[in-house]
């Protein structure tokens, strides 16, 4: 919080005022130091799991059972990564995760953009009422749907394929529609009307006028859809039964329960699963911060 309200002071300060100012300054400084220490400590604490994943992945197998645990591997074993890659079907899991994530992102961006456009850029009777319906659906949780959906996909013979995971995102989701609509509502309607007068079809308006403006919001949606798909566990758990189809999430977990595996290899594989998310985050950091503000326009 900012300091006290300062009354205008002449440059020559009486001693009492000067002392009060110094004390206030020291309070502020002490507060800053304490806050800094706290934040540094918490940051380190939050990063411990990641750090431990890294060093465990680099330890040799006997070193895993040293007590007290070492904070840095005695001999760095880069070979663990290669071993993890060959011992576990890491390549298969990785490719599956990538394919599913890519398809989910494509479906999410396309469908949500189109639907949000319909809710934001075209004025039609009944639009806002139906939008309230959309908001209402935000409160229906997932569990009640999984069993009927499983049955549905089973009757379509989609079980044990990527389809149950990849097709639903092509039908938009209330959350992303809400986000995109909020953003699109900020574009001046005159721009869209002008394009209409010039004879552009709605799709052309969407592609030529809206998409360039909405790029940041689209990026946010794409990033979060990607992370959601990459991290998804329950979906692949239910629908992917062949080991050759599994994603990293379920693949690693099941491998651990069906094979004998040392934790250093498991951590090496986990680290390689986590790395894409970290890279995505570091490269697109500003979009994450933007996402918070996008979402909090309530």
């Amino acid at each position: 919080m900012k300091g006290t309200i300062d009354a205008p002071v002449s440059t020559i300060k009486p001693k009492a005022v000067k002392r009060r100012h110094i004390i206030a300054l020291m309070h502020n400084l002490a507060g800053q130091i304490i806050t800094r220490i706290f934040l540094i400590a918490m940051s380190l604490l939050f990063l411990v799991p990641l750090y431990w994943m890294l060093i465990t992945a680099l330890k040799s197998t006997p070193e895993l059972t040293i007590f007290p645990p070492t904070f840095w591997p005695l001999h760095i074993q880069w070979s663990n990564f290669i071993q993890a890659y060959t011992y576990i079907s890491f390549g298969t899991y990785f490719v599956n995760s990538v394919v599913i994530t890519a398809l989910v992102v494509i479906g999410t961006v396309l469908s949500n953009l189109v639907v949000a456009y319909g809710f934001a850029c075209i004025r039609w009777p009944g639009r806002d009422q139906i939008f309230y319906l959309l908001i209402a659906t935000l409160f229906i949780p997932l569990p009640i749907a999984i069993i009927p959906l499983f049955d549905l996909f089973a009757s379509l013979h989609w079980i044990n394929t990527f389809l149950p995971l990849v097709v639903p995102p092509f039908f938009a989701s209330a959350f992303y529609v809400f986000l995109l609509r909020q953003f699109l509502l900020q574009t001046p309607y005159e721009l869209i009307e002008a394009a209409r007068i010039d004879g552009a079809s709605e799709l052309q308006i969407l592609w030529r006028v809206i998409v360039p403006i909405a790029r940041p919001a689209i990026a946010v949606v794409a990033i979060f859809a990607a992370i959601g798909a990459w991290n998804d566990f329950t979906g692949p758990l239910i629908y992917l039964q062949d080991d050759s189809l599994r994603t990293l999430a379920v693949g690693l977990v099941f491998f651990r329960s069906t094979h004998d595996i040392q934790f250093n290899l498991l951590m090496a594989a986990s680290l390689m699963s986590v790395l894409p998310v970290i890279i995505l985050f570091l490269v697109f950091q500003r979009f994450f911060v933007r996402a918070v503000t996008l979402g909090s326009i309530r």
């Binding site: 309200i5 319909g118 809710f119 229906i140 009640i144």
Partner: protein, 302 residues
């Protein structure tokens, strides 16, 4: 919109209506197929015995009666609420404290923001696996630190309560996400409020209770609601780390639902559980909303 109204629209409005509906058609189809249909289907199937292979057999209220007498239902409900009662308040408090700390004028706040937010987007399965390494009774870092502090050495996953607390602790890694939302909320509080309070001689603590918290209350409510929704579905960590044990100590409600459906092939009973979970969710949301009316302040200060 009745058919007769359709003809009352002029041509432009009609064409816009058609285009609008066309554009939102993916969502409408999705709504029907992925939301409304499953919802109704769940309710219907919950009254049957259905294994997924043979046609469903009508059971009437039997599933619900069985649910009432099923010890595992109450155990799993208890586990879920135990988790919710600890994880949600703790999450909110940690997030607010972090947001307050990050709100100070510090030059390097972006570094802290990065470090604190990153764990919340990491895949939960990876975090669960590394937690297994960290709390290993003989070789884990957490065990090492806690025994150095004087706690007895134990396998935290072998006791019903500590196992749940481990999962609660693991969930706190996601606090970075909420902290950023709170930070945005903090920054939206007009400085003039604090200045006015200072003039009136309010202490820092008083400022916090009377200005910060009330102005943050909508965000707090939002976090509690989303936290509750997530808590009712907690599943992954238990599946990976404990398999529901020890002695069903970490068998959360959704885990039991999953088992009933996919391990025991009792889709009818699982649907009854799903309906029950839905009802619980709705009731809790209404309760929260009623409480919110009393405490949450939506007035904006211009």
């Amino acid at each position: 919109m009745r058919a007769s109204n359709f003809h009352r629209l002029n041509r432009r409005e009609r064409s816009h209506l058609i285009k609008g509906l066309l554009f939102i058609s993916p969502w409408l189809v999705g709504l029907l197929v992925f939301t409304i249909y499953p919802f109704l289907y769940s309710i219907v199937i919950s009254f049957t015995r259905y294994s997924g292979f043979l046609p469903p057999i009508w059971l009437g209220w039997q599933n619900y009666q069985r649910m009432f007498h099923d010890a595992l239902v109450w155990q799993s409900l208890y586990n879920t609420f135990f988790y919710a009662v600890f994880a949600i308040p703790l999450g909110v408090i940690v997030a607010i404290i972090l947001a307050l700390a990050m709100n100070r004028q510090l030059y390097e706040v972006a570094v802290y923001r990065t470090a604190l937010y990153l764990p919340s987007i990491l895949p939960l399965f990876a975090l669960s696996l590394v937690t297994l390494v960290l709390i290993s009774p003989q070789y884990g870092l957490v065990s090492y630190v806690l025994t150095a502090l004087g706690f007895p050495q134990m396998d935290y996953l072998s006791d019903q309560n500590t196992a749940k607390l481990v999962i609660v602790a693991l969930a706190q890694l996601g606090a970075g996400n909420a902290a950023l939302i709170f930070l945005a909320g903090l920054r939206a509080i007009p400085q003039t409020l604090y200045d006015a309070a200072r003039i009136d001689g309010a202490s820092r603590l008083r400022c916090f209770w009377s200005i910060t918290l009330p102005m943050l209350s909508p965000v707090i409510l939002y976090n509690i609601i989303t936290g509750l929704s997530a808590a009712l579905q907690v599943f992954q960590q238990a599946f990976i780390m404990t398999g529901g044990g020890p002695a069903h100590g970490t068998l959360f409600f959704f885990y039991y639902l999953y088992n009933s459906a996919f391990a025991y092939a009792q889709l009818g009973y699982a649907s009854a559980l799903a309906v029950f979970l839905f009802v619980i969710g709705v009731v809790m949301a209404l309760v929260l909303y009623a409480i919110a009316q009393r405490f949450v302040n939506y007035e904006q200060v211009s």
